[in-house]
């Protein structure tokens, strides 16, 4: 199995001289199974260059998994060229929105409505199927399997684990470590803490021992207090998560849009230094990076 990062930025694209190394496109990861089946994790602006490359060898058959429908995970989708070309087979998976109860198909159609985009989803020429993501689901992609789990974000978000030929990869989508909403002296504090621990353990069990762990690490620990509740983790908390799940390779992504390449290099150096005695390879994901799993 191989994976390639086409977009590593969070929140908003961040092009410019300060983001050349790690990239300015928003989240998109291409995963190729050993059998050549194609899975695309999220459709941030990184899916546009991926689509251009795929267009060179059509017809395309792929499954796109939308972890959640925040802009930075979907706004490249209308620019994914294979959607426009007859003969391509594309399945778009995503959750139903629990607030509006709209399906991923309806959400995509709204994204491509007249006021947002010149082409409607019904005018796309490829054969598009839609799938509703549920927790605990196993979706077969050729002989690979993709399994889902609900993460902690400000909108319903699914993490995905892809398994093939004894190897596995997990992508969190956006995820913030759980925190207690009650002060320590509140009567509900202990009950809530217990629920948090159970849910966290469920996620750790789910990702335990994967060969590649791709996590949202938008903030530094110093930045986090001001960003608490915004739905993202920190570099250090992601490394802790990788250690807890006994993972050997962790890839940190969803970079804060203001973070420069220079800052990222310094953070990586510091992380590696702090964890030099751990049996863990730490990477900060960059656009174009390919992982062999």
């Amino acid at each position: 199995m191989k994976a390639k990062f086409w977009g590593t930025r969070g929140s908003l694209p961040a092009p410019g001289p300060d983001t050349v190394k790690y990239g300015g496109n928003t989240t998109c990861i291409e995963v190729r199974t050993d059998d050549g089946d194609l899975v695309i994790l999220d459709a941030g602006t990184g899916i546009r260059p991926l689509g251009l490359e795929l267009a060179r060898s059509m017809p395309v058959s792929c499954s796109i998994f939308i972890s959640h429908t925040h802009w930075d995970h979907i706004h490249g989708l209308p620019f994914f060229v294979p959607l426009f070309v007859p003969g391509n087979e594309i399945t778009i998976y995503g959750a139903t929105d629990p607030v509006s109860m709209k399906t991923i198909k309806e959400i995509f159609a709204e994204q491509m409505e007249y006021r947002h985009f010149p082409v409607r989803s019904t005018e796309l020429k490829s054969n598009i199927q839609y799938g509703n993501l549920k927790e605990g689901q196993t979706i077969e992609i050729g002989s690979a399997k993709l399994k889902t789990i609900v993460m902690n974000h400000t909108v319903l978000t699914f993490g995905s684990k892809i398994e093939h030929n004894g190897k596995s990869l997990f992508f969190s989508g956006d995820h913030e470590p759980f925190f207690n909403i009650y002060p320590a002296d509140d009567k509900y504090y202990d009950d809530y803490e217990k629920l948090i621990q159970e849910k966290h353990k469920g996620i750790i069990d789910f990702i335990k021992g994967v060969d590649a762990l791709i996590l949202d690490s938008q903030y530094t620990d110093e930045e986090y207090p001001l960003k608490k509740g915004w739905g993202h983790s920190t570099f250090d908390r992601c490394v802790d998560m990788a250690k807890e799940a006994q993972v050997k390779n962790v890839y940190l992504t969803h970079h804060e849009m203001t973070r420069t390449d220079k800052e990222m290099d310094q953070i990586l150096e510091s992380l590696r230094e702090k964890n030099k005695d751990e049996d863990l390879n730490i990477f900060i994901a960059f656009e174009g990076q390919t992982i062999e799993i």
Partner: protein
């Protein structure tokens, strides 16, 4: 027999829920004007309800679905709606404040549990309390679901049944609080004790349905219960053909709520059971405590005897149970302040 009353001209099988359900009840009203209120009418109404609402899978399943869709539109309590609207207008609103409002309102609780337990999301774990819902799908999602519910309006202060929603609410909160404390006393794990509160809070929710949508019949049941000293659910069964416990359980089942909550709602008046889960015992006992201590009022004055299995579980009777919780009044005062009654 049914066809005699619902001719093709008046058959309540509309395609659309809102107007269709109005038709159902308008039809009842029309028929009532045509037929004098007597035993025949009562028998007729009971037959209609049993057939229209409670018999699954028959040719009348469409009206049953429509009735349930009507219930989707039941709004929450005005104080909660107001608070949600105020809290959500502040970007820095503390999550805990918002969750407190939702947790204390039976309608918000019921509907949020309905959403998060929907098979559409397939959550691995059934969500039984608001805190659990927050952990599982995130506080911001709960906030936005609540905001959506608040936007449909608020429960009217008055209804034709003369059923005080504020007293009902306080009773529900009382039973939830007592059930929660009983759970704690029985060493229920912290992660489960929230279910006890939710179960107590929701146990009488079927009465809201009756008060809003079968107000005349419910009023008669309330009057009969008060006059004869019978339990309200007996009067409901006699006049409406079913009980608020059945109605609430039907909602809970339809909306895929966890089985333990559904069972608590369905069985909170069942005293002739040999043995049942702890949560059901706690809700049953809490209901009697609430009535004894007059925590609000939900139309039913009659206390029910604690069954032997329940006495065995607590190793004490109702009086001792109440004595074992000396801070109950304080808890209720907190709840009253919270809901501004």
């Amino acid at each position: 027999m049914f066809g005699r009353y619902f001719s093709p001209r008046t058959d309540p099988c509309p395609g659309n829920s809102g107007s269709g359900n109005k038709k159902i009840f308008q039809e009842f009203s029309l028929i009532k004007r045509r037929i004098p209120f007597n035993k025949f009418y009562i028998r007729f109404l009971r037959t209609c309800l049993n057939t229209v609402i409670f018999v699954p899978g028959n040719i009348m399943s469409a009206p049953r679905e429509n009735f349930l869709q009507l219930l989707e539109k039941i709004p929450a309590f005005p104080e909660s709606v107001h608070r949600i609207l105020v809290l959500t207008s502040d970007i820095d609103c503390p999550s805990k404040d918002l969750v407190e409002v939702v947790r204390h309102d039976p309608i918000f609780t019921l509907k949020i549990l309905k959403v998060v337990n929907s098979p559409l999301f397939g959550l691995v774990q059934k969500i039984t309390s608001i805190d659990q819902a927050c952990v599982y799908v995130g506080v911001n999602t709960i906030k936005n679901i609540a905001l959506g519910l608040a936007s449909i309006g608020a429960l009217p202060g008055k209804n034709k049944a003369g059923f005080s929603m504020n007293d009902f609410w306080l009773h529900s909160l009382g039973v939830g609080t007592v059930a929660w404390k009983l759970g704690e006393a029985l060493h229920v794990p912290p992660s489960e004790v929230g279910d006890y509160f939710a179960a107590g809070l929701l146990h009488d929710v079927g009465k809201v349905v009756f008060a809003l949508h079968m107000s005349e019949e419910f009023k008669q049941a309330l009057d009969n219960s008060a006059k004869n000293g019978h339990a309200l659910y007996e009067a409901e069964r006699e006049i409406i053909g079913t009980t608020h416990a059945d109605m609430g359980a039907m909602l809970a089942k339809k909306w895929s709520l966890p089985e333990n909550l559904t069972a608590c709602i369905a069985g909170h008046h069942d005293s002739d059971v040999a043995e049942r889960p702890m949560i059901q015992d706690c809700v049953f006992a809490a209901n009697q405590v609430g009535k004894r201590l007059k925590y609000g009022f939900a139309g039913n004055l009659k206390e029910e005897d604690l069954p032997q299995s329940l006495l065995d579980r607590f190793s004490m009777g109702l009086d001792e149970i109440i004595e074992s919780m000396p801070d109950l009044d304080e808890e209720m005062e907190n709840a009253k302040v919270f809901i501004q009654l």
